[in-house]
């Protein structure tokens, strides 16, 4: 059975269409990234998945049930983007409380150590830094040992170090065969932590596959070099070239066949300096997919 199924789901707020027709199937046990720029419809989709928003049309199913039923059954744990902790409680108390709401929670010590909170267990949650509070929210999300873990931009407000340890915790949780869906606009997070990346833009899915597939499906490689003030005409017709960008005497060619491009480049008589060939990173793939350039 699929962990998540979106069938013809759309969502409008008044005249604004936040999500266009969305059809999506996520198998149980996958770690999936929902990648897209701000305003792409990530949070709206996640809110519909959690039962916090109702689709205007279509249906959302979580393990074959409605989102409400799945949440009530304790199958879902989540870090909603606008979730918050309540003041006046210690880390341990709040985690213990949430554990108690689920039918088969994870042992308390395990939750605390997974979220790197053991030394902070007795600290009041209103006295935590932003990154620490974010870890408590993660602990709350996993405390019930849910089959589906949903994280909406979990590393916002975290510094680099906390981000690294956060993803290590997330992968440790995923290793137990659980299904994970996380939204992010950090490409490297999707690249490093997801088995599958779904790119959405303006409320639609624009790409769906492994990070590798998405990279190779779009843009291929980049050839960069310095050209100075020589003419750039004709560079865009070199073999394999799919795009060109000239900026301050520096050229960037996007190509599907870098060998052929470079060979033809040297044969063309242009004086080339500082040549560099790079695999397209997800950033470029992402920009070309979301069509912002």
């Amino acid at each position: 059975m699929n962990a998540i199924t979106f069938t013809g789901v759309s969502k409008s707020y008044g005249d604004v269409r936040a999500v266009e027709t969305l059809d999506l199937e996520i198998a149980a046990g996958q770690a999936v990234a929902l990648l897209g720029p701000n305003g792409a419809g990530k949070s709206t989709s996640i809110n519909m998945l959690l039962g916090l928003a109702r689709p205007t049309a279509g249906t959302v199913a979580v393990f074959g049930q409605s989102p409400d039923a799945a949440v009530r059954a304790g199958w879902v744990g989540a870090m909603p983007q606008d979730g918050a902790l309540v003041p006046g409680l210690t880390v341990r108390e709040i985690v213990e409380f949430v554990r108690g709401l689920y039918p088969e929670p994870m042992p308390l010590d395990e939750v605390l150590s997974l979220a790197n909170l053991t030394p902070l267990a007795k600290r009041r949650v209103d006295r935590l830094s932003g990154g620490q509070a974010q870890r408590v929210k993660f602990a709350i999300a996993v405390a019930g040992a849910p089959r589906l873990l949903v994280l909406d931009e979990p590393t916002a407000a975290m510094d680099v170090e906390s981000r690294r340890s956060f993803w290590a915790s997330m992968r440790a949780y995923a290793a137990g065969g659980r299904t994970i869906l996380f939204a992010t606009h950090y490409l490297e997070e999707a690249d490093e932590n997801a088995d599958r990346v779904i790119v959405i833009s303006r409320g639609r899915v624009v790409a769906d596959g492994t990070a590798q597939e998405i990279k190779s499906a779009t843009g291929g490689r980049t050839v960069r070099f310095t050209i100075g003030d020589q003419p750039t005409a004709g560079l865009d017709t070199l073999p394999g070239v799919t795009g060109i960008e000239v900026r301050a005497g520096s050229v960037r060619l996007r190509t599907t066949d870098p060998d052929a491009t470079v060979r033809a480049l040297y044969a063309s008589g242009v004086e080339v300096r500082d040549l560099e060939v790079k695999g397209a990173d997800l950033e470029e793939a992402f920009l070309s997919l979301t069509g912002d350039n």
């Binding site: 959690l50 916090l52 949440v71 009530r72 902790l85 309540v86 006046g88 409680l89 709350i140």
Partner: protein, 246 residues
């Protein structure tokens, strides 16, 4: 739901503002006023001496403060901050959250009656029979419900910035019209009529009747019940609207 009830109560005790409004102020006022008024003054309406009369007034006043401050501004802040949203993605249902909140708020009205009562006994030598104590505590506990509902209504309707002053305004107005600070008989006639229909006045009247050894008049209980039903229904409707899944 019981877990959430326990959680609410536990974290409220750590809130200094709560302890101040709901416990320190009524106890302080009791000590102040019971010393100002001659100890053997007898209230014409209830037949109670000042120290006993004030015990009920201040216990009720503390209960009113506790049930309003633990709901109103606090609920508004939790709505804004996202804690309620966080709870919505756990198996805990919204109706359980609101029920636990109201129950917690009623339970949190109890320390004021117990502490004011203790001070009244120890410092002023007030004597009530066990039955009267039980009756007073019971009346204060159940009678706090309409105020818990009012606080929930405020907290569900407006944001945290507006909820705080609005709660305090309701608190002061209800205490004043309820006759908790001074007898409503000194108010002008129109005000007196309004005061007569407020839930706070009926609340404290019930308390006075109980400690005076009377069977409380059914009209007091009925008016209070009426307020409870109306405010409760409004609170539930407002809370549902505030947590609606759009």
């Amino acid at each position: 739901m019981l877990r959430y009830l326990a959680l609410e109560i536990r974290r409220t005790y750590r809130d200094r503002r709560f302890v101040f409004f709901a416990v320190a102020i009524p106890v302080g006022f009791y000590l102040l006023w019971s010393n100002i008024f001659a100890k053997n003054d007898v209230d014409a309406g209830t037949g109670l001496d000042a120290k006993t009369y004030l015990l009920v007034s201040m216990a009720a006043y503390g209960a009113l403060g506790a049930s309003l401050t633990t709901t109103g501004a606090r609920l508004a802040a939790e709505r804004r901050s996202g804690w309620l949203r966080q709870l919505q993605v756990t198996p805990l249902r919204p109706w359980a959250v609101i029920t636990a909140k109201m129950l917690a708020s009623m339970c949190l009205a109890l320390p004021s009656v117990i502490l004011v009562g203790l001070v009244a006994v120890v410092v002023q030598g007030v004597h009530l029979s066990p039955g009267e104590w039980a009756g007073l505590i019971g009346v204060i506990w159940i009678g706090s419900l309409p105020f818990a509902a009012l606080g929930t209504l405020i907290g569900s309707l407006v944001g945290p910035d507006a909820a705080q002053p609005l709660t305090v305004a309701c608190y002061v107005l209800l205490a004043l019209l309820g006759g908790m600070w001074m007898s409503v008989s000194i108010l002008p006639k129109t005000m007196r009529t309004i005061a007569h229909w407020t839930p706070s006045n009926r609340f404290v009247e019930l308390g006075w009747s109980v400690v005076a050894g009377h069977v409380p008049p059914a009209s007091d209980a009925l008016v209070l019940a009426g307020w409870t039903v109306v405010l409760g229904a409004l609170a539930i409707a407002a809370y549902r609207r505030a947590t609606v899944r759009s």
